[in-house]
Symmetry: C2
């Protein structure tokens, strides 16, 4: 697992904000929060996220609206996501951990994290499906 002894300031700031949140943030939301703390450009936020992803510290998933949502890798990332309204409901159980550990030994690929997402229609939306 790549873990540099110290992170550049902006990367650290981005990671801190993500860790303080209990839910994934978009890059633009992140930018809004960081702007209240310091002078920072949107491009820098994207650059920091890119690097943090490559280091296996941050993960992203695509919102149904197209934008990416970012969260620290430690955070569980298993959802029921409604195709109609786009809302995501977190799941607690993860049956994949052991497979991930097994993969580490069986494939030439360094796994940082995984995502597991179930797609369908949530109860409130079921009635409104055409």
């Amino acid at each position: 697992m790549p873990y540099p002894s110290r992170l550049p300031r902006n990367q650290q700031a981005v990671l801190d904000v993500l860790s303080q949140q209990s839910h994934p943030l978009s890059a633009q939301e992140l930018y809004g929060v960081l702007r209240q703390q310091q002078l920072i450009g949107l491009a820098t936020v994207y650059r920091a996220l890119e690097t943090l992803k490559l280091r296996g510290l941050v993960q992203s998933r695509a919102d149904t609206s197209g934008e990416s949502l970012y969260s620290p890798v430690e955070q569980d990332q298993h959802y029921l996501t409604c195709l109609q309204c786009g809302r995501s409901f977190p799941l607690d159980r993860c049956p994949v951990q052991e497979l991930e550990e097994h993969l580490q030994y069986s494939v030439p690929f360094k796994v940082y994290y995984h995502t597991l997402e179930f797609f369908g229609i949530c109860e409130p939306c079921i009635e409104s499906v055409d």
Copy 2:
């Protein structure tokens, strides 16, 4: 599982092309293929994909470059995806099927399909990681 007796022509055409491919296609690639067969607009391709997703017949996942890749739901969708080069390597084993079936009875949510993706660095890229 929602399965209308007959699909509108364009939705059927989109589904046919996706089913003929052995790998997921972007909306733009799909548009290119369809244009060789018939007169169709890009907006219609997106509209058809949207509807097919809501019907649980097509699924999408985000490419590392940001665009969405579409494939029929029947197709297995489990990958090792390299954060560096973006290439995806399909996995055969799926440990989640039974959890999905269990979910159907334990949550108020109609599950159409799931995605499982492992992210990390592939062997060829490991050397080039800074």
